[in-house]
């Protein structure tokens, strides 16, 4: 059997073409033998979604004992960017840095590995992510109407990190970046874990059906109050997971003219509100992506009033009663 050619990675990869990108990687892994090669010579611009997918893919292949060749990294147009965000370091490669590392504050958060060592530290890590992207808002604690982007990033990061820690059974990788000229914030997390269907299969909640496929599982995970851990006791007794994180993030992307993507093994879901798609893309991929990837893109100007955004979303998802039932419980 002849050795497959290296996969020549595309010049650009956006959240919008995550389906094709993940398919390319998955298919290449499927047809490659013990040696798998990726060619970086064209890589110029990747958003956090494809980048976290790629680093998770590389790490998984390495951990699985495959020989992985990362070709022409040193010639990639995005070489210094890949070094700055620690992509190359996480791939286990050392390249000379022909630039001065500037403080990434206000621009991007270098790729962060998510593993069991972060249990108990989720709030701290999420805070660090938001501190890095919006340092000017980090110190504003008494005026939430001024810190919408900061608060959203903390919220999204905590939900996504918690999902990896609670469900994946594998390490994950988080990347976040602002794009000030376009007024965009992008956040993505990817793991090479058991996937959403695998998580359901593991705990067999009452909605579990062995006939469900990966797309069914993704759709279920996006419904509020659905979680593989809904009724699973933690070490502290009653179930601690209400299964609302992904559904809230999906709706926040909708309300902020963004893009929400969720890929888990063969299940693919993406709702692109920038392109004003009427319906989401829902696909059963022909080559399963190993693990789960969630990418969120939001328009920063729409994040001003985080509290109002969240309230609207929670009402729509029926997670909040309309009437002031609980006003008497709150003291100044």
């Amino acid at each position: 059997m002849s050795t497959p050619l290296p996969l020549r990675l595309p010049r650009v990869a956006y959240d919008e073409n995550l389906d094709i990108f993940s398919l390319q990687l998955a298919e290449h892994a499927r047809i490659s033998g013990p040696l798998l090669a990726l060619d970086f010579q064209d890589v110029e611009f990747y958003t956090p979604g494809p980048l976290t997918a790629l680093v998770s893919f590389v790490r998984h292949q390495q951990n699985a004992g495959r020989t992985l060749e990362l070709l022409n990294l040193q010639h990639a147009p995005a070489r210094s960017y890949l070094q700055r965000i620690d992509f190359i370091r996480h791939c286990g490669i050392t390249l000379p840095e022909n630039f001065r590392r500037l403080d990434p504050a206000g621009r991007f958060v270098p790729i962060r590995r998510i593993d069991a060592s972060l249990v108990g530290q989720v709030d701290k890590v999420a805070g660090e992510v938001a501190d890095c992207l919006f340092p000017e808002q980090a110190a504003i604690t008494d005026y939430p109407e001024q810190t919408g982007p900061y608060d959203l990033v903390v919220y999204a990061a905590t939900e996504l990190i918690n999902n990896v820690l609670q469900h994946a059974r594998a390490e994950g990788f988080l990347l976040a970046q602002t794009y000030p000229k376009q007024g965009i914030v992008r956040l993505a997390i990817a793991d090479a874990g058991i996937g959403i269907r695998g998580s359901f299969q593991e705990t067999k909640p009452d909605f579990w059906d062995p006939a469900m496929n990966d797309l069914d599982a993704v759709r279920l995970a996006l419904k509020p109050r659905v979680s593989s851990k809904l009724n699973v006791a933690s070490a502290w007794g009653a179930g601690v997971n209400a299964g609302v994180g992904l559904s809230i993030l999906k709706e926040l992307a909708h309300d902020t003219d963004g893009i929400f993507s969720l890929v888990s093994h063969a299940g693919f879901f993406q709702f692109n509100h920038i392109a004003q798609h009427e319906y989401p893309s829902e696909l059963l991929l022909s080559a399963p992506w190993l693990g789960t990837l969630c990418a969120v893109q939001v328009a920063q100007p729409k994040l001003i009033d985080h509290q109002r955004l969240l309230r609207t979303v929670k009402h729509r998802l029926r997670l909040l009663d309309d009437s002031p039932l609980f006003d008497d419980l709150f003291e100044p």
Partner: protein, 106 residues
């Protein structure tokens, strides 16, 4: 009689993990639930709370104690986002106490 718990000093300024909330509830709230008339959870200084934390802190109290939880719990010093998360948790808690809780999917 009132029992007050200061969440920021006990847990930090951003509260994001359901397991920590559950631990806190079992260590600091459940043991005294039947002792005090009012249990005040003071969120002064807490910048944010996510769904996992709020739900794990509040909902099981309703599961365990029913509507008595609504009579005893008070929340202080909540900024608008924290208040919103707690209101959602209280909504879920009330549903659980009234036997309406369940999966929202078809």
């Amino acid at each position: 009689m009132k029992h007050e718990l200061i969440l920021a000093s006990d847990l930090g300024t951003y509260l994001a993990e359901g397991a920590r909330a559950a631990e806190y509830r079992l260590r600091h709230i459940e043991p005294v639930f039947s002792v005090y008339e009012t249990i005040v959870l003071d969120f002064t200084g807490v910048r944010g709370v996510n769904s996992s934390f709020a739900n794990a802190l509040v909902v099981p109290l309703f599961v365990q104690h029913g509507l008595e939880a609504r009579g005893k719990l008070r929340f202080r010093g909540c900024n608008p986002v924290v208040k919103l998360m707690l209101e959602s948790a209280l909504t879920l808690g009330m549903e659980a106490a009234q036997g309406q809780g369940g999966h929202a999917y078809a």
